[in-house]
């Protein structure tokens, strides 16, 4: 090996160490694609159960019985859908990410992963609690925009600790969230685009950019 090749290799190694030690780079695009698919399945389940319409107010109306009481089965149905989507997305997300880490001979659980999760979950848990408060005050139409906005902010915050591309997805989710807060009638449509379509587009782009 000549001197120049050696120095070039040194620089490459320095760069790789800086990146590996400060950012969690094993996040797999396939995780995003699957999260998107689960979101679409969730939206489909809602449409199958209550009938399909673009008007979100129709679904929100189901939250109350004709007697004016809260419709418990509505909250249970949406609770189960939301929970299963989160669990499925996280499980598959972890599976693909650990597979990618193994392939690149990196640890899945290290300080960069910890840092990423902490910074992702602080805004995310805040958003979750805020949504619970909105439901408590019976402000259902604002729940969907809030999930998009807080998720977008969480991604934006996390982008400093993982592949920077996720920043763009975060900004798109925030814009979509604000739009859906104005046009609450299309809230669920925006939600399906934000969590379904955007995840699939982002995941596919990441997969082709980093994993092929």
């Amino acid at each position: 090996m000549n001197q120049q090749e050696k120095q070039l290799e040194t620089l490459t190694e320095i760069r790789s160490l800086m990146e590996r030690s400060s950012r969690f780079i094993s996040l797999s695009g396939l995780s995003g694609i699957f999260a998107g698919i689960f979101a679409l399945l969730g939206a489909t389940a809602v449409a199958v159960n209550y009938g399909f319409t673009f008007d979100s107010m129709f679904y929100y109306g189901k939250a109350e019985l004709e007697t004016g009481e809260a419709n418990l089965s509505f909250y249970i149905f949406f609770g189960i859908i939301a929970l299963s989507m989160v669990v499925a997305s996280l499980t598959f997300g972890y599976y693909f990410t650990s597979k990618k880490a193994k392939k690149n001979d990196l640890a899945v659980w290290d300080s960069s992963a910890k840092r990423l999760l902490i910074n992702l979950f602080i805004p995310l848990v805040t958003g979750g609690l805020f949504c619970a408060i909105l439901i408590y005050h019976e402000l259902l139409p604002l729940v969907v925009p809030s999930t998009l906005i807080f998720y977008g902010l969480a991604l934006l915050n996390a982008s400093k600790y993982t592949l920077n591309d996720i920043r763009f997805l975060g900004i798109c989710e925030i814009i979509l969230g604000l739009a859906s807060a104005i046009f609450v009638k299309y809230g669920l449509l925006c939600w399906t685009i934000g969590f379904g379509l955007l995840h699939i587009i982002y995941g596919t782009a990441m997969y082709y950019k980093y994993e092929r």
């Binding site: 120049q4 120095q7 620089l11 320095i14 160490l17 590996r20 640890a107 300080s111």
Partner: protein
Amino acid sequence: MKNYIDDLNKAFESRIRLGIMSILMVNDSVDFNTFKELLNITDGNLASHAAALEKLEFILIRKQFVGKKPNTTYAITKKGRKAFGEHLDGLEKLLKKRE
């Protein structure tokens, strides 16, 4: 003609020292085990290179106890940041000149 090799710091010639400095450039503080994992080296090897860098005042070593376990963390100093930055510039110039 300037000899760019003068800009290269002898202290950073070893692969491990380069690694330690690279990681500390982008992290506020890094612990012993994280270094071991990232650099794939043994305890003794890491300790001796870190001690050498500390002696040059390029890094700070802080030893603490978490419960009964010793926990050593490392951070870069101002002097270390400057020296490593110059070293990187030197490498870059050297490569550009030969192109």
